[in-house]
Amino acid sequence: MIVLPIIFQFVAGTILLFFWQKTTLQKFLSILFSIIGLGISIWLFLLVWENGIMITQSGDWKAPFGISFVADTFGVTMVLLSSISGLAVSIFSAGSMRKERLEFGFFPILHFLIMGLQGAFLTGDIFNLYVWFEVVIISSFVLLTLGGKKQQLEGALKYVSLNLLASSLFLIGIGFIYGLTGSLNMADVAIKLDNLQNRGLVSVTSGIFLVAFGIKSAIFPMYFWLPASYHTPPPAVSAIFAGLLTKLGIYAMLRTFTLMFGGDEFMGDIMVILAALTILSGGLGALLQQNMGKIFGYLIVCHIGFLIAGLGMYTELAIMGTVFYLIHDIIVKTNLFMVSGLILKINGTQDIRELGGMYKNFPIISLLMAIPLFSLVGIPPLSGFWAKIFLIQAGLQTQDYVLIGFIVLGSFLTLWVIARLWSEVFWKNGVYLPKKASGLYFSQMTKADQWLMVFPIVLLSGISLYIGFGAENIIILSQRISTELMDPSGYIEAVLGLKTMTP
């Protein structure tokens, strides 16, 4: 029952495979499937919101033996967010993606990618999580290399090799977990790890997981693949990567470090240090760059630091701040790359020194773009503000004053970057740019295609505004998630069937 979103995305991708060359039909079907997928996710979300954690045991094998799928509030929230981003990217790519890329199966792979993500969010088995990770990265490899330009191939090589390394580290970690506990079900592992005497081995295992997920989510010493590869594919692809792939690493970290390695002091301290350095290096990196895609790439790294910071502090308030930030970040980052894609389509370049005069020529689109840009900074009523408030409040509680300093510094650096971007791209007088031959410009596109590019930005900006102005609802949601994460006994009981609950 709760695997319905996964099965649906699989069916959608498979159906799209049958229409390999018919790109117009593919566009229509992909948008339709994404809307239905979003509907299913909303339904599942409401169901879990009403009934609490729901379980499906695959093949009806009892919990520690079979693979269980667990839909708790955190999981279904992530599924919902991934559906929203998927819908937005599907619409955006229908408008902007070139025909050569569509003919090589862009849409089927997009649906397989979303299937992998939703599978990872819903599984309750650590090895199954690894399998979903692989589904995600193989799809992302294909999306990244689709088109085969020189830069793309170079970026992809860096991305592929580091991700393969992370995968084998993850596998080693799973081997350790199995050796220590003899189980793979995360709830079962949690109980058995708790009773283990040899804490040193548990710490080492959690360290391996930290490195493996750290590479995937681009935290401080392991982030170099991200700015080298994220600006190379078309902006629609970057958008889904930015919104969801690094966040998958964060999701896995939140899940394993709250459930399995709950509250390890030493790891918490390491995470806080890494978070501070991630914020600093991402923010400074973004300041140095002139290409918009790269600026946003470094900003992803910077804001991953905020997410790790909350996890490192490990109090209920901090986790709540992290979850709120995660919800805000997925929507905003997806939107940002679509904004950069639209600017690229309008002007033919992403170099901010050459750009200019956006506000003069496209005032309404510019105001629209202002919403994600300033949400990212966290100007008070907008969405980024609330998340940072909770993180800073949590820091005051645990007296991590240095970390608070870094969070404020990170916000300030983001503000600086966005202000520079705004004045260079939107306010500066535009210069005449010679038009390049490749690709259609925004002004040459049909009205329908133009709307297909602008509409997802409107949609995601609307959601950003809702997160900002309707913050009390999101606060209730993230409070419930953080309570569930910090006290995993409900999760464990539900999975192992100590308290029977049938879907």
């Binding site: 399998v131 393969l164 084998s168 190379t232």
Partner: protein, 117 residues
């Protein structure tokens, strides 16, 4: 047997890491393959090796009377091998494409993504 496997795993990991640190793309992919195989053997080892006791219940018995080999690590390793195989073949094709486009095998020359555009 365990000691032998431990040594092999150590060698695979050491060799894999050494290859990863070289500048050649081709050696990098060999390093990744060695690391992957090392990880697979590690799961096998950590799942406890049992010799001559298949995970099959004998005739006329309801439960295992004797010690038996755990089938789960074997299933895990099999899955991991298949997945790893797919990823590695993708990476090999990617490297061939990169070589065809850039005419170099040296990772230090792959720096156009870091240049200003």
């Amino acid at each position: 047997m365990e000691i032998l496997l431990v040594i092999i795993i150590g060698l695979l990991h050491a060799g894999g890491l050494y290859m990863l640190l070289r500048r050649s793309m081709f050696k990098m992919i060999i390093g990744l393959i060695l690391l992957g195989n090392g990880a697979n053997l590690l799961i096998f080892l950590l799942g406890r090796l049992v010799k001559g006791h298949p995970p099959v219940i004998e005739d006329g018995m309801k439960v295992f009377a004797d010690i038996y080999a755990d089938p789960v690590p074997q299933a895990l390793v099999l899955t991991a091998i298949v997945i790893g195989f797919g990823l590695q073949s993708f990476a090999i094709i990617l490297i061939k494409r990169v070589y065809n486009v850039l005419h170099t095998d040296d990772l230090d020359e792959l720096n156009s993504t870091d240049e200003e555009i």
